[in-house]
Each structure stands twice: as C-alpha cells, then as structure tokens.
C-alpha cells in the first residue's frame, strides 16, 4: 500500500528525516512513536506531501508520489489526515465541514454528500451536532468531526498526527474509541501518538523513531516487552 525508500527531509541546515525506509500493507495499523523532535510528524506529513521530501521515494498504491509529474491533489484526496489541533473550518457548520471536500473536490451532488455526511457523523456519534458550528463543540467532539471530515473523501489511508495530544484527558478515550472502530473496518492507518496503551492494543506494528531515523519496528507485544535497541529501551523507561 505505502512504500517509503530512502526518505530524507531537511529544513535548511537541519536534517529532520534520515534515510527512512518503511512499508505499510493494506489494512495495517501502524503506530509511530518516539521522543518529540524525532521526526515522526514530519514523516507522516511527507506521506501526503504537506512536506516535500528532500530526496527519496514514496509509492502509495500504484503511484510514485515523489515523481516530478505527480499531482499532490489527487494523492491528498485519497489519503485522509487528522491533525493534532483539529483545524475544523470555523465558519462552516459541522455538516458543512464534512461535506465540503466531497462537494468541491469530487463534485458529489449536495443531497448525496449530505447523506454521506450524516452517516459519518452518526458513526462518530455526533448526529445531533450536524448543524452546530465547531466552536460549540468540545475538543473531543471536534476531533471526531475532523475524523468524519477526512473519511468523507473515502480515503484508502488515514494519517493521524497526534490526534489526542491537544485534548483534555477525559476526552482522549472517545477519540481513541472512534479510531479503534475505524481500525476494525480494515482501514489502513498510520498514527503518530504518545498513547502507549492504545498503541499496544490497536497497532499491528510499532515504528520507533529517534533523531530523524527509523530505529526499530516490531509488533507491539515484542516491542513493548523487549525492545531491541537501546534508544527504544531508554524511551520506554521514561514513558511507561
């Protein structure tokens, strides 16, 4: 589904990603963890070209997205993304947030888009909020709307960039629950998170990054019980 080969990314002098090579299979849920500043988010943002890779190759489905002729809009309409700070459109109602991209990018009819939007809002448990504006919602509700908004484009892959890091503790669970049920539907997911419990429970595979490098990847059971690299051992000691 996603193949990454020798990915490098620099911001000026600062090398943020160094020689990342990874593969994500269809239906797989991959959790990326690591200390802050390790390049996790940048890695994720390279996958839908919100950051332009400095060098290396990314293939998603059949398309080499790092190719010169590739149109990033096509890629982004097939890869959903959920941000730490939600970034809902504040001047649109919840339903308008969800239907906006299908209407304007895919050209779906209004009636059809509304129906899909309401179905998705029901899925994330927010049917009754459809006509509210985002500022009337709690953080957890906003993030669930953001997930519905990304799903409305019917993506093949969902990227989550620290989806619960900006939430009050009591709202973390409702968002993780939505993500869990999404994982059960067989969605390919890549999640940057600090929620180790969630990683252990939901991930098919854990990728550990440090200082811009992919240090280790393993299934969650063996990663959390016996990480092979010293850096992962140190990290886990601090967070667990």
């Amino acid at each position: 589904m996603i193949k990454v080969e020798g990915l490098y990314k620099s911001f000026g002098q600062l090398e943020v990603l160094k020689d990342i090579t990874a593969e994500i299979k269809e239906g797989e849920v991959v959790v990326v963890i690591g200390p802050s500043g390790s390049g996790k988010s940048t890695f994720l943002r390279c996958l839908n070209l919100l950051e332009e890779p400095t060098s290396g190759k990314i293939v998603i489905g059949q398309d080499e997205v790092t190719g010169k002729k590739f149109n990033p809009q096509k890629l982004r309409s097939e890869v959903g993304m959920v941000f730490q700070h939600f970034h809902l459109f504040p001047h649109m109602t919840v339903l308008e947030n969800v239907t906006y991209a299908p209407l304007k990018v895919k050209g779906v009819q209004k009636q059809e888009a509304d129906q899909l939007g309401r179905e998705l809002l029901a899925k994330v448990g927010l049917s009754e909020k459809a006509d509210e504006y985002p500022n009337r919602l709690s953080g957890g509700q906003k993030q669930r709307v953001a997930i519905a908004r990304a799903l409305a484009m019917q993506p093949n892959v969902m990227l989550f960039d620290e989806p619960t890091s900006a939430l009050d503790p009591e709202m973390v669970k409702e968002v993780l629950d939505v993500m869990k049920s999404l994982a059960k539907t067989g969605m390919t997911m890549m999640i940057v998170t600090h929620e180790m419990g969630f990683a252990r429970e939901v991930a098919d595979r854990v990728i550990f990054m440090d200082e811009g490098m992919l240090v280790e990847q393993a299934d969650p059971t063996s990663f959390f019980s016996s990480p092979s690299s010293e850096r992962a051992q140190n990290f886990l000691q601090k967070v667990l």
Partner: protein, 217 residues
Amino acid sequence: MNFEQIVPSMPYILQGIWVTLQIVLIAGLLGFAIGIILSLFKIGRIPFLRWFADGYTSIFRGTPLVLQLMIIYYASPQLFGVQIEAYTAAILSFGLNSAAYISEIIRAGIQAVDKGQREAAMALGVPYNKMMKDVILSQALKNILPALMNEFITLTKESAIVTVIGVTDIMRRAYIVGSDKFSFLEPLLFAGMIYYLMVLVLTFAGKWVEGRMRKSD
C-alpha cells in the same frame, strides 16, 4: 446665517449624492477587486508579482490622492492618448488608490487566518483557488470587515476632492451654489451634513453585516 436663500438650490445639491455614490461604489468595487489580486500577489510565491504588488502599494500610499487624480485626468492625453472624462478619471484614481490600502487590509486578514486551515484544506485535496475562496478569504473577510468599512467611509469623504477636476458631486454643487449666492457657509454646511449622514448610514450598514457574519462565533 440664512438657510432660506439656499432652499431652492437644495435639490440641486442633493442630486450630487447620486454622483458621489456612483463614484464611491464603482471605485470601491474596483479597489476591492484589484486589492484582492494584489494581496494574493503579496502572499504568493512569485517574486516578480510580490515585488510589483509591494511597489504598487508603496507608490499609491506614498503620494497624495489629489496628485494621482490630477495626473490621471489632466495627463490622460499623454498617458492614454485620449482625454478621458472627469467622472472616469475620478473612478480610476479612487479605485487604484484604495486598491493599495485594501490589498494591505486583505493581506493582513489572510495572514491572520490560522495556518492549519490551509493545511486542512490541502490535506483534503482542495485545489488552491477553492481553498483561497471558500476557506481562507471567507474567514479573512469576516475579520477585516471593520477595516474595509473604514476604508469605504474614508473613500466616501475623500471623494469630495473630485471637485478639483470639475465633477459635479455634492461638494462641487455646494461650491457652485455658494458662489452663485455669494454666501458659502450655508451650502457648505448643508453638504457637510449630507456627507455625515452618508457616513452614518455606512457605519450602521457595516455593523449590521458584521453582526450577521458573527453567526458562527
């Protein structure tokens, strides 16, 4: 002070409202349209366009409006090869001048919209034009509405200087009536009252639109 003597001339002065309004409305729209384009140049990635928009703003803000008006009107045969009408010159100079101010207002408004909005739209595959229009500009406009209204009010008042190229707006008509009756105070005060009322109406209209746009807050 004797207002009675200008009563017969009041309709004549009042007819100037329409002239003033026409100039202000068309120039305002022109300024707004050019202002949007210039602001997009300013935040864009193309160095030449950025340079052009910055230079444009610098020149139009850095020289007197009355000078711009007179250059466009009196120098039009040298500039365009034909003598343009005073009315056209007024609209052109006010439109071009307010574009400079409006472009700065819009640029600041766009930059005040959270960067994440742009990323969220991009991540959904929304093309640049639609993102700008539906996500960025529509939020920016709401925030800059008071500043835009202010610019529009300024334009209404400043439009009085078209009198120097002979456009028969409120101001010019008041002046004509004054020299006709050898009494300037009354017609000028009357003109002042008209301008003030127009500005009040604009202020209220602005507040009303603002209130409607605050629905999502």
